[in-house]
């Protein structure tokens, strides 16, 4: 599964792996996120924080017609305004994908998989 772009000089294929790594990388730089989580909580352990090489487990890339949608599963820090953190992730991921891969994203759906209470 990958995204195909056609330019006047030929095809560009971007694998989902690339998109999810870029999207995950943008997300974890967002303030208020403490990690990416797996979408299959039961299989992979409850809200386990993923390492960079496994981001694709927490980022699902879908393509319907010509529209690309992304689902992201994240863990946020306790005591932040979660709705706003989610919104910040959406705009940051959208911007980064557009800037680095030239991919217009139709929708970014955020799933908050956990809230992490930080040790004082």
């Amino acid at each position: 599964m990958s995204i195909e772009l056609t330019t006047k000089d030929g095809h560009v294929t971007i694998t989902n792996e690339v998109i999810s790594t870029v999207a995950g990388g943008a997300a974890i730089e967002c303030y208020g996120i403490v990690g990416m989580a797996s979408k299959n909580q039961l299989k992979d352990g409850i809200a386990e924080i993923l390492r960079k090489e496994n981001f694709s487990k927490g980022v699902v890339v879908r393509q319907d017609d010509d529209l690309i949608s992304i689902d992201m599963y994240i863990i946020v820090s306790y005591g932040t305004k979660i709705s706003e953190v989610a919104h910040n992730v959406q705009s940051q991921v959208k911007y980064t994908l557009d800037k680095t891969l030239g991919l217009p994203i139709h929708a970014i759906n955020i799933f908050i998989q956990g809230v992490r209470v930080q040790a004082e």
Binding site: E29, N88, E120
Partner: protein
Amino acid sequence: MVVRTIEGAKFAQMVLLGANHLTNNATMIDALNVFPVPDGDTGTNMNLSMTSGAAEVKKLENESVTVVSEAFAKGLLMGARGNSGVILSQLFRGFAKGVNGAEVLDTKTFAKALQTGVNTAYKAVMKPVEGTILTVAKDTAKKAVELAETTEDIIVFMEGVLKASKKSLAHTPELLPVLKEVGVVDSGGQGLVVIYEGFLASLKGEALPESANATVEMDDLVNAEHHKLVQDYMRTEDIEFGYCTEFMVKFEDEKLKENPYDEEVFRQELSELGDSLLVVSDDEIIKVHVHVEYPGQAIDLGQRFGSFISIKVENMREQHTSIVGDKVKTKEKPKKKQDYAIVSVAMGDGLKELLESLGASVVIQGGQTMNPSTQDITHAIEEAHAKRVIILPNNKNIVMAAEQAADLSEDEVIVVPTKTIPQGMSALLAFHPDSSLETNKANMLEASKQVKTGQITYAVRDTQIDGLTIENGNFMGLADSKIIATGKDKLDVIKQLLAELVTEEDEIVTILQGEDAADEEIEIIESYIEAEFEDLEIEVHKGNQPIYSYIFAIE
């Protein structure tokens, strides 16, 4: 006279002036915004967040610094907007923790609070990006801790803090390449510096400029009553630089040949004329804000580089004299709180009336496509003005926000997680004003489970769900939020839904008529029910709810 401590009331004024000063500079900060997403809203977001924080502080009178900083943190959290707003809320959440019960702030406590704020803020991010508001807060707190070791004079301390924050801000382009590329300092960091500027001005009793670009949201903060708080601490004749001067210059190549523009040099020249100086420039324009005694001199300096886009000069002494005349209204005595109140959520005026008739004190307009925020619910709780409040969200998407609002409230607030209007109605009927909160919660929850909910709505797109294929425009029948029937014919879907829901034990069906449901249709449905389920009583209410043509409550 050396000031060694800050009382709660003084700290409240510092917060208010910081917020006010940020409002005046929001547009300037927007213009700096290039990271993480260059959408030019940092100033706006920070301003909205700060306004919400200040609004909480304004409610207090003569409380300890602990109470004020906690209220401020709570307001910031609830109103947090954008990255900068979320970070700001964390900085001051930690600040409040660092104050740690103190009655007043001395330099040591102040420094510790700043440092705790930074620690808290850094914990909420995986990969802190340096060269942002985080960096400015960190450098400032570090300097504050050093200063607190050497001085007890609050004003000397705050001056040092502000200086450190400006120094750190100036250094942000060295840490974050994108800033250097564009030639700006970090916008969020600039916002924090502006807040500290407000803090210091409040401590010194100096006026900061009012500005024409205050947004509508700020109106309630920028009214005379608020100014009075700040302004009463200084006399008109104490204003050293009487004119708030702002201008924008558009560069012209001709003039630049003669007078090459160097921001640092220009800033230096202006700083000799007055204070409260801000200079922002890019390849095309310079924006200047400064308080001076002779505005002409500042304006002349700017004209060397190009032509004016705008000029604004305001006489601050005049403004000040007129403000000091105002008297703050004494607060009305708060009404006595009633014992119990119920806050509920519904869409449509009919449903609102219905819930009120069943005993809801406040009904928030909201539902499936328009979920009220935590703040809306918090407002409703306050409006209900009761010692004990029960919230009925009537929608599963609102339960979370309701729980949050309950946590934030200082009253005894519980949530009975009703997911539909009929569940909310049943819960209301089970309420007893003489029972304890726990008993009521248990009874209401039990009652809400006794009722079955059927809802008729239509699909807005093609989809496949619960094993059914649904086309755009089809009607759907939901049994307790699971789709069990779908089709082009509304009555057909209603019949399927009722057949599924109604059992022999049921005694009554209540029909809530939606805004798009015709009276003739209701008659058809009534005759169908009478024919099909002869023992079932029927009640019809006009709910006027959007989206759901009909809601059935069956028990």
